[in-house]
């Protein structure tokens, strides 16, 4: 009964989505503000209905309703409650429902928090979001209904993919989807601007907080995903350039570019058509990512839910949505005129340069991801593009980017005097150069050219991140700091996070040490000053798996640092063997132990890594997201709204 309610809620949501698209658009056409207002209530109703469907599916999982085919395929009677709830998005059908929940959630948020937008703008934005809803609801209902029943009812479920039974995976997909789907709002604003032909600084100010919110969710989602892969896949890697990872990284790169180009459009009225294009592209890449993951067109470690038949549907949807968007762009964008002149050596010029780097990086990732498909299409065989390509392409793009990030902080809008800039950057430059030279020696006793370059860029970014607050403090002391808007603090924090990330990536890539060992219980081995001792291996019985659990002690100079319990798990329902690595960490290094396999005589093969500054990679990501959050809370967005409301009531503007 409950699953049928969920199914019915989805059908009702489809009807509401149709209303949300058609009536507000007709309202804009007829200049009827009551018709336009339907968009907001429809968006909220649709969110309620999809949330109801989502709760119904969760209920089926919690109650172990094996008659629902999707539940039976992705849960097991012994699966713990937490994973039964996260199993909702453990495979294709539920993932799409989560997608829908996010999409309608964003639309409902727009209907609530953007109440003060001009009515026709809000109506069009919600109508565009409604169109997207129609497409995805049809997709779920026609090709991937999670509520389908299956008879005869199996005795037990087939269990959730063991890879997904991890606390990191409980929050990673929702955050990632929130980010992916969040770019739909910027997309809807872009389409609205193209339809109405109005693109001014107000438009940029409306779009900015939504873009930042989507971007920060995506940042957190990617960071969590990387952390999950690190300790769940047991390879000690944190980024694999896997097609599915790339699918989330491309919208992130373009979304980052969008945030910066929106700043230029708001402050200077420049780069208008470029900003609109980026807004479309960010969402286009999100759709593309969904298509790549869901169609099974590319093979990856993540390909646990693929079906080519569904691919055709998403591809048609993608072609229609983006076809219309790009056609509108080709038709309307030429009319957006810049309100000033762009000089390269100014903040807007540097931001444009950084945009170009980000977009080229995204294009490089796209080419690498799709290249195997192209090669196959021309009948040249099957190949896969691996980390060597991506690292070789990405590094030369990222390095100048990091330098510009620091430099742009010291350069003002419009034009600036070179002497002034030099005065601002000479001490940070010197500091960064010194730190770049010293850090590798101090921390690793081994200096490599790349480490010096990476250390320089990292410290440069870290120091320059607070250039503006520093200047305000120099000028007016504590009062200057107090009056610094949160948007500036957010930017500083996000750039500081980037610096931490660069530092982490540099050191972990250049100075990681790994060793494959054969140890008998009681034996120990030394790696980079740490002594790893295998104390013993014991059987361990988990809720839905049996494991061999090793006890490994790590000591340095005779002092015990940690006791680690890496596991080799056999999940009963699917007979899958999983490696559960154990990690001891502090900000300067990770000690990572994974059980490989049992050898004869009770010996075990172990894999051990010492990874310097590994934590900074994820910590940097989290700090970036916090920066986004801080910028989002800037009162400017709220004040601007209040002011506009007053202006509207004063002028008595209906629409």
């Amino acid at each position: 009964m409950i699953p049928e309610i969920g199914h019915f809620a989805l059908l009702a949501a489809l009807a509401v989505a149709l209303l949300q698209t058609l009536i507000p658009l007709a309202g804009v056409w007829r200049r009827d503000s009551r018709w336009m207002a339907v968009g907001a209530s429809a968006a909220q109703a649709q969110f309620a209905l999809v949330a109801l469907a989502y709760v119904c599916l969760t209920w089926a999982f919690v109650e172990r309703d094996w008659s629902v085919a999707y539940v039976a395929a992705n849960a097991h009677s012994q699966l713990p409650l937490m994973y039964r709830m996260s199993a909702v998005w453990g495979a294709h059908e539920g993932s799409m429902l989560l997608w829908m929940l996010m999409l309608t959630g964003w639309a409902a948020a727009v209907s609530i928090f953007s109440r003060s937008l001009p009515r026709d703008v809000q109506a069009q934005v919600l109508a565009v979001l409604g169109t997207l809803s129609i497409g995805f609801l049809l997709f779920i209902l026609l090709t991937s209904n999670p509520f389908d029943r299956h008879f005869p009812v199996p005795a037990d479920g087939r269990d959730l993919n063991p890879l997904l039974q991890d606390p990191g995976l409980v929050i990673h997909p929702p955050l990632l989807y929130m980010g992916y789907v969040g770019f739909s709002v910027a997309f809807a604003f872009a389409i609205t601007a193209l339809i109405s032909g109005r693109l001014d600084t107000a438009w940029a100010r409306w779009t900015r907080p939504w873009t930042t919110a989507a971007w920060l969710s995506l940042t957190l989602g990617i960071t969590l995903g990387s952390w999950w892969a690190y300790h769940e896949l047991g390879w000690g890697g944190w980024w694999f350039w896997d097609p599915v990872e790339n699918a989330s990284f491309m919208p992130w790169l373009v979304g980052t570019a969008l945030i910066h180009s929106l700043a230029v459009t708001e402050k200077r009225g420049l780069l208008k058509s470029w900003t609109v294009l980026l807004a479309i592209l960010a969402f286009a890449l999100s759709l593309l990512g969904t298509f790549l993951v869901r169609s099974g067109i590319l093979v990856s470690v993540h390909a646990f839910a693929t079906d080519p038949a569904r691919g055709v549907f998403i591809l048609s949807f993608l072609a229609i949505v983006l076809g219309v968007a790009f056609a509108l762009y080709a038709w309307r964008a030429p009319r957006f005129v810049a309100e000033g002149e762009l000089r390269l050596f100014s903040r807007e010029g540097l931001l444009l340069l950084n945009n170009v780097f980000l977009v080229i990086a995204a294009a490089a990732v796209l080419i690498g991801t799709l290249y195997p498909l192209v090669v196959d299409a021309f009948g040249l065989g099957k190949i896969s593009v691996g980390p060597p390509y991506f690292n070789a392409v990405f590094l030369p793009l990222a390095a100048p980017l990091a330098f510009i990030v620091g430099l742009a902080m010291a350069v003002g809008w419009k034009q600036v005097r070179a002497a002034e800039i030099w005065r601002r950057i000479r001490w940070p430059l010197l500091l960064a150069a010194l730190a770049g030279l010293c850090l590798p020696w101090l921390l690793q006793r081994r200096v490599e050219l790349l480490a010096v370059a990476g250390g320089f860029l990292a410290v440069w970014t870290l120091v320059m991140a607070f250039e503006e607050p520093w200047r305000r403090w120099r000028a007016r002391g504590a009062a200057g700091l107090m009056q610094t808007p949160r948007a500036i603090w957010g930017m500083s924090l996000a750039h500081f996070g980037l610096g931490l990330w660069v530092l982490g990536v540099t050191f972990v890539s250049l100075y990681s040490i790994e060793r494959d060992l054969r140890l008998a219980p009681g034996q120990s081995a030394e790696l980079s000053g740490y002594t790893f001792t295998l104390a013993g291996v014991e059987p361990y019985v988990g809720p839905n798996y049996d494991a061999d659990r090793a006890t490994v002690t790590v000591s340095r100079d005779g002092r015990l640092l940690a006791e680690l319990y890496p596991e080799k798990r056999l999940y009963r329902a699917q007979n899958n063997v999983m490696t559960e690595a154990a990690v001891e960490h502090n900000p300067l290094r990770d000690l990572y132990v994974a059980l490989a396999e049992p050898l004869d005589n009770g010996d075990w093969a172990l894999r051990i890594y010492v990874k310097p500054m590994m934590r900074l990679v994820w910590f940097g990501g989290v700090v970036m997201a916090l920066g986004g959050l801080l910028a989002l809370s800037d009162r400017r967005y709220r004040l601007a709204r209040v002011a506009r409301e007053h202006a509207q009531t004063a002028a008595g503007v209906p629409a």
């Binding site: 592209l281 169609s295 099974g296 067109i297 080519p308 072609a319 076809g323 762009y329 196959d376 699917q574």
Partner: protein, 174 residues
């Protein structure tokens, strides 16, 4: 000047064409270089016996060579289909891959034996020569001992109907 605004649409069109192609190709299909070639020679013994079994024992009639193991979960998936085929008179040779004779026989006792001959490949040496990635894999051989098809993973109803059965029929005539 206006043309550059059409660029995104053009790129989209190219990508859609590429994806349309991609959707018709399963990226998991790795073409086997052995298809159309004579099956590699091997000299093994039957499971639980010392009776030798070589490539010559495969000649003279079309048959299926199925690599399986008692430790292989996916082999359970295709097992009912193999039983059905065996009942309908299709000859299946089972290669017990990287397995012990006792375990293999116990597995067949419990689930049923679809194989006319069961061959032991405890070290996986034959599997290596035949290019086996993992079990189960099924090779279709014609009467001359040429490999005409290879199924990676469990043999499915659809694969049997669309790919294997026509080849077996053709092999009978030739």
């Amino acid at each position: 000047m206006r043309l550059r605004y059409l660029l995104p649409a053009a790129v989209l069109l190219l990508l859609v064409v590429l994806f349309l192609f991609g959707l018709q190709h399963d990226p998991r299909i790795v073409p086997s270089p052995l298809i159309g070639k004579p099956a590699p020679a091997f000299a093994l013994r039957r499971v639980g016996e010392e009776t030798p079994f070589t490539r010559d024992d495969l000649l003279g009639r079309p048959l299926l060579v199925n690599f399986w193991a008692s430790w292989c979960a996916a082999c359970r998936v295709e097992h009912p289909l193999l039983m059905e085929l065996s009942r309908s008179g299709i000859e299946i040779v089972g290669i017990d891959y990287k397995d012990s004779d006792a375990e293999g026989l116990r597995w067949l006792q419990r689930h049923g034996n679809p194989y006319r001959s069961i061959v032991a490949d405890p070290q996986g040496r034959m599997g290596l020569d035949w290019g086996v990635y993992g079990v189960p894999e099924t090779f279709v051989l014609d009467a001359q001992g040429t490999i005409v098809y290879k199924q990676i993973g469990p043999l499915t109803e659809a694969a049997w109907r669309e790919q294997v059965a026509p080849l077996m029929a053709a092999g009978d005539e030739g």
